[in-house]
């Protein structure tokens, strides 16, 4: 099967040329990151930036690893807890909005959804005050709470759209047999939810791992997630660029692994983000 233009075959080389140009644009930063990370600091200079290292400096990675391990741990604790919590809440919400609508539930759904679009700058000052007042400022658990709450809109949306696809007749049949709200959830809906959970957890994992604004506003050096540590390392004066590059790679690996392993579900989450309630 070919598309309408390429069917002639004569111009297909042009398509491949364009694809290769695009591919090199997308790979250029990857090459630069790896090559720079593996150079000795003395060898890194602007005019030879593209060259391969003359001596492969593998020591960069242990150094970066040592500097970043506590931050990676913070990121993992934060990301896994908040993804799990927001996924469970979103699943129950989605179940209600898809199968047990109550009067006014559509408007409630819309009001919840709006929460995923707001610029967080518009709630950051009260949020900062609130987290400080409950004693969680500078703690990773403060960030867990924040990401769980602000994750509710997107997880609710994805699960609601997923559960709409489960036939009503399944739910009604169990309902006629006398099963209640939670029994139906446990025995009918939840067992069918695995793909939904995969989509949501992957989405939340990527979003929370990559998040920066909350992380930089609400953490301290001990509870910093990796994104904040990386921004600080790369933003310093007179940086030795091999270290930030290795750090960038370390910060990118977890979400890249998720992307490569679960690519299909990742795209589903991405498309769900464009709404359609």
């Amino acid at each position: 099967m070919t598309g309408p233009i390429g069917s002639a075959g004569r111009w297909r080389w042009l398509m491949y040329l364009a694809l290769c140009l695009a591919a090199s644009f997308f790979l250029m930063p990857v090459y630069m990151m790896v090559v720079t990370a593996l150079k000795d600091p003395s060898e890194i200079s602007l005019d030879t930036a593209w060259r391969l290292p003359t001596v492969w400096n593998w020591a960069t990675f242990p150094a970066a690893w040592e500097a970043f391990v506590p931050k990676l741990q913070n990121s993992f604790v934060l990301t896994i807890s908040a993804s799990a919590a927001s996924a469970i809440i979103g699943s129950l919400n989605g179940y209600v909005f898809a199968k047990w609508p109550f009067p006014g539930s559509r408007i409630v759904f819309a009001l919840i959804l709006f929460g995923m679009f707001i610029p967080y700058q518009s709630i950051l000052i009260p949020l900062f005050g609130f987290i400080r007042s409950i004693g969680l400022y500078g703690s990773i658990w403060g960030l867990v709470v924040v990401h769980t709450v602000y994750g509710i809109p997107i997880t609710t949306l994805i699960f609601r759209n997923y559960y709409v696809g489960i036939p009503d007749s399944l739910v009604e049949a169990s309902s006629l047999e006398g099963a209640g709200f939670f029994a139906i959830y446990r025995h009918v809906v939840f067992p069918l939810s695995l793909p939904g959970f995969v989509v949501v957890v992957i989405w939340q994992f990527t979003q929370i791992w990559n998040e920066f604004l909350f992380a930089v506003s609400l953490s301290n050096p001990a509870s910093q997630p990796i994104t904040v540590a990386l921004a600080q390392l790369a933003g310093g004066e007179a940086v030795r660029w091999n270290l930030p590059m290795a750090g960038a790679l370390l910060a990118a690996v977890p979400t890249l692994v998720v992307y490569v392993v679960f690519g299909r579900y990742f795209v589903r989450g991405l498309l769900a983000g464009s709404v359609k309630g």
């Binding site: 695009a22 602007l46 950051l124 920066f212 921004a231 960038a248 890249l256």
Partner: protein
């Protein structure tokens, strides 16, 4: 039965209630508090700025007045201009590259899956990672500027992140007129679309509004002088580097949106068009692009709201406090958390929220309405 329906409703409501409470407090309650803070002088008195319960005074719209017409807040106005230009170019870049990539993939090349995966992978990265790498690539004397030397040309010298040049400049005092013209054009477009859709009432209303705005623009707007002196703003070319990195990150996402739409256009339809004598190019311009219009609109809104909120990429590429590459999202952060000017920071946050709401709320309404009809 009626009683059962009530318990049904009640159970559903009770299960969602905690989320309603959380979102109610963390989204709407906090927006309310930000709004309130923006109407006070919180931060003007340094001794009160960081107090647990600061003593503040109500000052009405003073903070907003200062932001838009005050002498010292020129930086905010430049940021506003920057973010609008940045958003326009960012959307254009993503749509263009995303569409080209989607069409290329749609031609089913060999290794289709590889290319698709490659174009989309930056979307899985943090903006901080992207920013760190591109910051190095766009150093004035290295990276991208060294690329011409690979084919024997002299190196480029453009300051991707440091250029001091400003283009598309205009005087802030002309803003009322410019805004009037833009709103009039938009309303006229709404009227034209409504006329074509034979929605007479909307067409007449939009046409009347257009006339009113034109009258205001000609009659009243030139007399509005926000500032007592000319203040020129424009697009800082130092944003070009950030634009390249942002498009690199989000073009694949746009491609994925387009691909989802392209797979929905059946092969029969395309073949029918070819049988009818359409050339390959015409198949795209006459059939596929019009069918992709709703996706383009969705993509514009999603990219637009991401762009207005952009913070981490700029932070990682140009630092948090760099006047030439500043945006309101960063200025809010600096103003509040470095300068402790909480009231002014809150006001910037509210302006940002209004800008985002302006494009997101109509979109959300139409999406949910469409969903209800299906």
């Amino acid at each position: 039965m009626r009683w059962r329906r009530h318990t049904r409703h009640l159970t559903g409501f009770l299960v969602v209630l905690p989320s309603i409470a959380l979102v109610g407090v963390f989204v709407y309650g906090f927006i309310g508090r930000t709004l309130w803070a923006s109407l006070t002088d919180w931060g003007k008195d340094p001794s009160q700025a960081l107090a647990i319960s600061p003593i503040t005074h109500f000052v009405g719209l003073d903070n907003y007045r200062e932001l838009f017409t005050g002498i010292i807040d020129g930086r905010f106005r430049q940021d506003l201009v920057s973010t609008v230009y940045f958003t326009l170019f960012f959307i254009a870049g993503c749509l263009l590259l995303g569409l080209v990539l989607a069409i290329l993939i749609d031609h089913k090349p060999r290794a289709e899956g590889f290319f698709r995966g490659l174009f989309l992978f930056p979307f899985a990265l943090s903006f901080v990672v992207t920013g760190t790498i591109w910051r190095w690539l766009l150093q004035p004397g290295g990276g991208v500027n060294q690329l011409p030397t690979l084919v024997g040309l002299p190196p480029g010298g453009f300051g991707w992140l440091t250029s001091r040049t400003q283009v598309f400049r205009f005087d802030w005092n002309h803003l009322p007129v410019i805004a009037g013209v833009l709103v009039a054009v938009a309303l006229a477009a709404v009227a034209a679309v409504a006329q074509r859709a034979r929605n007479r009432r909307r067409a007449v209303a939009a046409a009347a509004a257009t006339v009113a705005v034109v009258a205001w623009t000609v009659g009243a707007a030139p007399d509005i002088q926000p500032l007592p002196f000319p203040e020129v703003h424009g697009f800082n070319l130092a944003f070009l580097g950030i634009l390249v990195a942002a498009v690199w990150q989000m073009a694949g996402y746009t491609m994925a949106l387009y691909l989802a739409g392209l797979t929905g256009i059946s092969e029969e339809l395309r073949e029918a068009a070819v049988v009818e004598g359409a050339t390959g190019f015409q198949v795209y311009t006459r059939i596929i692009l019009p069918l992709l219009a709703p996706i383009t609109l969705s993509a514009m809104i999603i990219l637009g709201h991401i762009s207005l909120k952009i913070f981490d990429l700029v932070f990682a590429m140009a630092g948090p406090d760099n006047a030439r590459t500043d945006v309101p999202a960063l200025l809010m952060f600096i103003t509040s958390f470095r300068g402790n000017q909480f009231a002014k920071g809150a006001a910037i946050g509210v302006v940002l929220l209004l800008m985002v709401a302006l494009i997101v709320v109509p979109y959300l309404r139409s999406q949910l309405r469409e969903g209800a009809q299906e």
